[in-house]
Symmetry: C2
């Protein structure tokens, strides 16, 4: 089964973490939470869901993980203000292993400058930033581009998770 890295910080969209975490675990996968500080507890923006950071992003090796998942909310905006998560996201993108993005998650990849020529979706407020980064924004529940899966937000979670879990089962 897969070891999935989750890049997360405070103000994440609770349901965009809790629902995928449950689905991935039920499918038999393991989760490793990467963040700015090992041992820190980060909180969701609506329900205050608490997530403990297992590993600092700066100490994480992309080769150690089979997939990367980035939940939305304002966590991606907070993460991209720091060098390490941006560097990790860029390095992981280069491995071409499964990468799962939802809502505001594309912001981190815009900062990593890896979206040029790619197709994806995301929360409507960041559509303009996705386009300005040289990518094609597609207004659909799920967009698959190679090993990159993206969705717009909480309403797309069922389709997003079906696609992600199916992709993981093939790796």
């Amino acid at each position: 089964m897969a070891v999935i890295a989750i890049l997360i910080d405070d103000m994440f969209e609770d349901v965009e973490y809790t629902t995928p975490a449950k689905a991935f675990r039920e499918a038999g996968h393991s989760l490793v939470h990467l963040g700015l500080k090992k041992g820190a507890e980060v909180k969701g923006k609506k329900e205050g869901t608490v997530v403990a950071i297992d590993l600092e992003t700066g100490s994480a090796d992309p080769a150690a993980f089979d997939a990367l998942f980035i939940p939305g909310g304002y966590s991606p905006d907070r993460l991209r203000a720091h060098k390490e998560p941006v560097v990790f996201a860029r390095a992981f993108m280069e491995t071409q292993k499964p990468l799962f993005l939802i809502c505001h998650a594309p912001q981190l990849l815009i900062s990593a400058r890896v979206l040029e020529g790619r197709k994806l979706t995301g929360w409507k407020s960041v559509a303009v930033d996705i386009k300005n980064a040289g990518a094609e924004y597609i207004d659909a529940p799920v967009v698959i581009d190679g090993n990159m899966v993206s969705s717009r937000g909480p309403k797309d979670l069922p389709q997003f998770l079906n696609t992600c879990v199916e992709m993981l089962s093939k790796h």
Copy 2:
């Protein structure tokens, strides 16, 4: 004295509203709070500062105001998910009257597609989006480009407000 429109929604950075509001009022200016719904109370993201919306953005006439101020935090991201604030910001930009931006405020102008060729600053996480929108990002406490004044965040408030109040005194 000037009538200043303030475009604001939930999750604004408290101090980026409270400090400018105090400074503008002390300088004799009036404030009109524009938002998504008249009469709504919007709240700051850290201290829960409550601001009552005076007027819906969709009903506001840019000609009625002498200046526009957009506080930061996640308020600009929320506002730009709606058409009316984006349309208002674009129309106000065209009047060439004083426009004050701090922190994440440039996000709203990126969505309005009015930043190409302009010089500004903003919160470090949105620097890449500002550049991708065709503007020049300058890492300085205050950037003045015509009647547009921008700053990076809370630490720049003293210099930001000196510049804004001085500009208003000349109008």
